[in-house]
Symmetry: none
């Protein structure tokens, strides 16, 4: 797993791990049922304390992104197991509102923003396809 942590960023290390794992799954580089590196392995790979990685894994499990089986390891959850409640949708919507406001500050037009989204979706899909080859 290619995970890169920026220890100087203000976003917590465990959140950075969460984001990148989610990204790998969204891109299809990690597939359902696939085993993730063990807490200790990943911790030594990215030079983090095992507790920090463990915290990231536990949060991801709570989000239904991964599943951990005691004594065996942690695995990517089935897509069907993912949770999507109303609160999350609202949060997403609120994030988007903030983003739109910031964008207007930066002088970014609606067309430009939708173009960006188009590109991001392409990137996700593209990397997944490359992986599938």
């Amino acid at each position: 797993m290619f995970i890169r942590i920026n220890p100087r960023s203000s976003t917590p290390l465990y959140e950075q791990v969460m984001e990148q794992v989610k990204e790998l799954i969204a891109k299809g580089i990690l597939e359902s049922g696939e085993q993730l590196p063990s807490v200790r392995d990943l911790a030594s790979q990215i030079v983090l304390n095992p507790n920090t990685v463990s915290k990231a894994y536990k949060e991801l499990e709570r989000n239904g992104v991964i599943v951990t089986i005691r004594g065996k390891g942690t695995f990517v959850a089935d897509a069907s197991d993912r949770k999507l409640d109303l609160k999350q949708l609202e949060q997403l919507r609120q994030q988007l509102q903030r983003l739109v406001i910031e964008a207007t500050y930066a002088g970014i037009k609606k067309e430009e923003l939708t173009q960006w989204i188009e590109e991001e979706f392409q990137t996700l899909k593209g990397e997944g396809d490359r992986n599938a080859d």
Copy 2:
């Protein structure tokens, strides 16, 4: 100024203030050159520690959103004074990437997301127009 703070949210109080001020400006409810309430006034209005409001104002000034003039007060900055460096653009782009990933997890399609953006821009513009009447 209509600002509502949620003390139980996990986002810092001063950031909530910043977001809402930015929102009011983006909507055109606060216009360039308009005076903002003093730190004390705003603090007592929304029942917050003046230090917290002060921190929000300072951060907003650092971003070039507002300007404080000694002995006169704080005012909404001219749109031309806003700073938009490359770092901010990158951050915006990264936020959007995260949002797209989260959206795919929530099963939201590209079309739906662009539709949302359309709506958010309409909301901004709409409230601004209403205010301009």
Copy 3:
């Protein structure tokens, strides 16, 4: 023996086996003196490591629920052989206290809870009768 294991549950696999064996006995589906499948057989049936099944059997024997006779196999113990010391009673009582507290949090009234117990006892008895036919 119809035993279903959920490897993703947080309760240990061996405890799940224990619970289900106890349930089968409580329902009268397994009767005193009846032979249980061998560790190997049960392990292959429910796709578990034999060590895990073995641990469950050992624990059940420690509780006096089953007995293993060297060279013959393991059998359901006589009801008279079951051990019920004071510690277990206290534990039971404590579990019930926790359950009552959780129930009040869930807004469940006393009458509802006693009704539930009524139903659980009926279920136990009912399945036993069906099996006795």
Copy 4:
């Protein structure tokens, strides 16, 4: 707050803290809006590491039992804020099933069990009343 921890119990320390806080709230000894001791205070009171207490508090917040406000402290949540989803009800029901099975093993009759429940509810209410005096 009178919290007693048993370091030799097999149930995790942080769960013991959770249970006892819930108990105090259920009994009405801690009321809605009331402030809990700080993480450090409680930790030194019951001779635990602050991290352990913090973990308990965070879990309790996730359950909607308490609310923490950054920089101010943690408080008992409003009863209306408590979450009660279907999964929790199912879990409760399953716990009760196990309890009934264990009870039959211990030779406890239905009437006895319902009597116990009656007593537990009385205890909860009783301590609350005593506190209200």
